[in-house]
Amino acid sequence: MNARFALLMTGLLCAGAAMAGDADRVAASHGWIRVMPGALPAGGYVVLENHGDRAVSLSAASSPAYAEVMLHKSSTDTGMGRMEKVDALSIPAHGKAALSPGGYHLMLMKAAAPVKVGDKVRVTLRFADGSTLDTEFEAKPANTVDGGDMSQMHHH
C-alpha cells in the first residue's frame, strides 16, 4: 500500500516537473484554424516564441475538439505540392517559429462536433521534454489569407 502510494506520488511529482519545463518558456499567439466544410481535415496555425536560452522542440499537439492532430509540413519545391508528417519543430533560443499556411502546420482531423467560424478551440501543444502548453485557436473561414502571408505576397 505504502509502496504504491509512493509510486503514485513519484508519478505526480514527475508530471509536475514536466509541466514546468520547455512550455514555460514558450508563448503562443495568433492561433487559428482554417474551417473546412463537412468532415474535411483542417489546418491549424500559430506563432511560437521562445524566451528561453536554449532551443525548444514542439513534438505534438492535441485538442478536445478533434480526435486526431498531427504536425505536418507542406512544400511546393520542384513545382509539386507535398505534405509530410514531421516529428518536431525547433524554436530557437530567444527566437520564433511559425506554423503558417504553406509550411509547418497542424492537421486537425475527425472533429468531435462541427467547428464553426468564430469558435475558440483549445489546442494543447506538447514539447519534447513532455511539458504542455494550453492555447486557444480561433476558427476562421476557409478563404482566410494569413496576415503575415499577405505581406509576403505583395511586392510593391
Binding site: T76, G81, P141, V145, M153
Partner: protein
C-alpha cells in the same frame, strides 16, 4: 567623297531605324506578360468531366471565360486551401472583371471527391470557383495533357492518404487557348496584372 559619306550614313541610319521599328512591332504584338508565357506550347482547354452540380461538362462550356485551372484535392488541408484563398483575393482585386473568369479546381482524388464534396469545398472559397471531378481516366488524361502530375501517397493505415500534385496554375484566354503558367514563386500582383490583360482584351492574337 563627302556626299558619298553622307549617303552611307543616311543608309545606315535608315537600316537602324528600320530594325528599331521592326523590334517595336514585334514587342507591340506580344502583350507584356509578367507570368510564364506558354502561348502555342500547350494544347487548348479540353476535357470531359463532371462539375460540382453533378453535370457533365467539357472545355467548350468555358469558352468566353478566362480560366484559371488548378489541380488539387479536398482532403488537402494546407496548400490547396492556401492557393484557393489567394485566388479568391485575386478575384476580389479584379472587381467586376472577375465575373468573366472561372477558377477550375480539378480533383486529383476522384475516389473521395464527389460533386457534393467538391461543391461545398469550392464555395467556401469563391463563388466563381468550379469543382471538377470525374472518371479517374478522364482526370488522368487532363493532367497528362498539361504535363501536370499527381501521385497518391501510401495509405496511413486508417484509410487516410495524401496526394502529391503539381502546384502550378494554368491560365486560358476566352478562346480556350493556354496562355500563361503561374507558380507559387510568382507575386500576386503579377497574376492580377496578367489577368487584367486577359480580361480587358480577351488577348486575341
Amino acid at each position: 567623297m563627302k556626299p558619298r559619306r553622307l549617303v552611307r550614313a543616311l543608309l545606315l541610319l535608315s537600316v537602324l531605324l528600320g530594325a528599331f521599328l521592326l523590334a517595336g512591332c514585334q514587342r507591340g504584338g506580344e502583350l507584356p506578360w509578367k507570368l510564364t508565357n506558354v502561348s502555342g506550347h500547350m494544347p487548348d482547354l479540353d476535357f470531359k468531366l463532371v462539375d460540382d452540380h453533378g453535370k457533365p461538362v467539357s472545355g467548350a462550356d468555358y469558352r468566353g471565360k478566362v480560366v484559371l485551372m488548378y489541380f488539387g484535392y479536398t482532403h488537402c488541408p494546407d496548400v490547396c486551401p492556401l492557393t484557393l484563398a489567394q485566388l479568391h483575393v485575386v478575384m476580389q482585386r479584379l472587381g467586376p472583371l472577375a465575373d468573366d473568369a472561372r477558377i477550375l479546381f480539378v480533383s486529383v482524388d476522384p475516389a473521395r471527391d464527389t460533386p457534393e464534396v467538391m461543391h461545398a469545398y469550392v464555395n467556401a472559397f469563391d463563388p466563381r470557383a468550379v469543382g471538377l471531378s470525374g472518371e479517374p481516366r478522364a482526370l488522368e488524361a487532363l493532367s497528362k495533357r498539361y504535363r501536370s502530375a499527381y501521385t497518391r501517397e501510401p495509405d496511413k493505415g486508417d484509410g487516410q492518404y495524401e496526394v502529391s500534385h503539381s502546384s502550378a496554375i494554368y491560365l486560358f484566354d476566352r478562346d480556350g487557348k493556354a496562355r500563361l503558367l503561374s507558380t507559387a514563386a510568382d507575386a500576386q500582383d503579377d497574376l492580377v496584372h496578367d489577368l487584367h490583360l486577359l480580361l480587358d482584351t480577351g488577348a486575341k492574337p
